[in-house]
Symmetry: C2
């Protein structure tokens, strides 16, 4: 990625004036004051601005392609987001190309550069778990690449974000368990580095408080759970065996963890939902295929993808002079009630 | 996509000489005979060959990106292939970008053009079910874009193919059912347009023949099965209810169809595997999570991806003078035996 690809927008931002003013100043337009022309030309020279370079003209030629960078494509949630993005993008005449970072910062940087060099018109991103330094995004955004973030928010620079209301998701799951008669509800958490983990936990606490059930931190398990059912089965099983008072409900941060908990309970001769109710999160395909089927919180993946694509295309197709305010959209979750939490009354 | 991007390779192919001869003829090299020079220059003029055009130089500049076009990313098999491609590609310094055709010919054409315009260095493809006309692939391949096909073979032009031995897969599944004591084995087929459907059926017949079980076409069901468990449940259930002699084994062309069959059997009070054994195909994630867990034929997705990426990179990195013969790799399947077919003896 060449660091010399300075655009009119960079000059405009630096001087606090509009891109169209910069453009007209460079063309010696009579409407622009001599002071402004002088300031613009001075900065253009300093930054080595090349209005007619081939690189620049190519960069600005539309490729009608939208790039999507996500942690992993095999995850059901992300694949529904992609379908939503495609629904809007292909309808508007854009192709969609996808890269997966595999939750690796290094690969995310490589993918971002590749998307930029492949001349996509804009990028939709859900960041990897490892990502702390955002300069790979910032540097291409500064060069005029439209970007929208989803699910894992990015607030370091002025980009639009499309998020899920995970607090509400955790609240829905926990309230439902309480309504089923559960009082000792274990919360099996995901990776503590993610905002979504903290938000789901927040919703769990909120539901308990509303029903006057005291919060007990011993019932919250975040033991580097991973996201496979085997480790969840082992960790929750160990917890269950040593607990003096047994839990009667489980709110798991992911469906895979919920499945592990169900397997641990079955292995101990307990019935789900009669003895213990279990709720997961994400509505993975398998949750409707297991026995019992698993109650879960569905994220509006398809709608998120649609929303992100709409915001991105709006930015891609805006005139250079239009300044778009970044948008924050937060979408609601839906509780899908299945057998793992439905007690016959 | 400009139709004027003629390369040295096109001229060489047309005249039946090597690209390096063409290159030297165009440069008036003393080693090349006057007749050859005349023929090359005449054809170059006819085809409007432009050695110094910007488009051409850009086209030949490496982007270090590999494009992958597949029917659907949510499919477990394809996601493992992608992991295999990435394993080799990122290791060799290439980013991977993916587009899904959603089994639509029209979108596949759009994606192919986008990949070409985004200047990927080469493309790995598994074609959509709808695709009959291959001209969108042929036209970019002619312009020098390296291409490798996998799973669904393409033999219309000289490209390498990486395939799965589906005949052997069908043979393994059916032989295993016979070894479990099954004699009336139903075969629930996938879409009849696909080679993989015909090959799995071929393997089914082969295993029956080897065990002297007569082939009975009434036991082969291809009733626009779709690939969801609900329609498989309905169609197989209806078949089961009306069959005068009940089947004792099921070989399903996909795991989802296998699951539908299991659900139909359970709904009729039959036990799997005691009354009927069931085997699926693909080793989707859920097959190890259901009750009973499902015996299935695993395709070597990861290895296929690795192999396809190796073949493509070999082509990308070959000298312009080197002529690479297309390669056909056929990889073996593995039978994964689980509860749905394991009778206690």
């Amino acid at each position: 990625m060449k660091s010399t690809q300075i655009t009119i927008k960079d000059i405009a931002r630096e001087l606090g004036i509009s891109p169209s003013t910069v453009s007209r100043a460079l063309k010696d337009h009579p409407d622009i004051s001599p002071e402004t022309k002088k300031a613009v030309n001075k900065l253009a020279e300093e930054l080595n601005y090349q209005p007619n370079s081939i690189a620049l003209s190519l960069r600005h030629r539309k490729s009608n392609t939208i790039g999507v960078i996500i942690p992993e494509i095999v995850h059901f949630f992300f694949s529904t987001v992609i379908s939503g993005i495609e629904d809007i993008a292909y309808g508007a005449g854009y192709s969609v190309i996808i890269s997966q970072s595999n939750e690796s910062y290094e690969r995310e940087v490589m993918d971002t550069k590749a998307m930029f060099n492949n001349r996509v018109d804009g990028i939709i991103v859900s960041m990897s778990r490892e990502t702390q330094d955002l300069s790979h995004f910032e540097s291409i955004h500064k060069r005029g690449m439209p970007m929208v973030f989803f699910d894992r928010s990015c607030d370091l620079f002025n980009c639009s974000n499309v998020l899920v209301d995970d607090i509400n998701g955790g609240y829905q799951a926990t309230s439902h368990l309480i309504e089923q008669g559960c009082r000792r509800i274990v919360h099996l958490q995901g990776p503590s580095s993610l905002t979504i983990t903290r938000d789901r936990h927040e919703g769990y606490k909120k539901a308990l408080a509303e029903h006057n059930i005291p919060y007990n931190k011993d019932l919250v398990i975040n033991d580097e759970m991973g996201n496979d059912e085997q480790s969840a089965k082992d960790i929750f099983g160990k917890f269950f065996d040593t607990a003096s008072e047994k839990p009667d409900g489980v709110f798991a941060s992911t469906d895979m963890i919920a499945l592990g908990a169900i397997q641990a309970l079955k292995a101990r001769g307990l019935r789900v939902p009669e003895d213990v109710c279990v709720v997961g999160f994400s509505n993975w395909q398998f949750t409707s295929l297991t026995e019992p089927t698993i109650t879960t919180v569905a994220q509006p993946g398809f709608e998120m993808g649609q929303e992100a694509a709409r915001l991105l295309i709006r930015e891609i197709e805006a005139d250079e002079d239009t300044v778009l305010e970044p948008v924050l959209k937060t979408l609601k979750t839906t509780l899908i009630i299945r057998d793992s939490s439905t007690r016959k009354k």
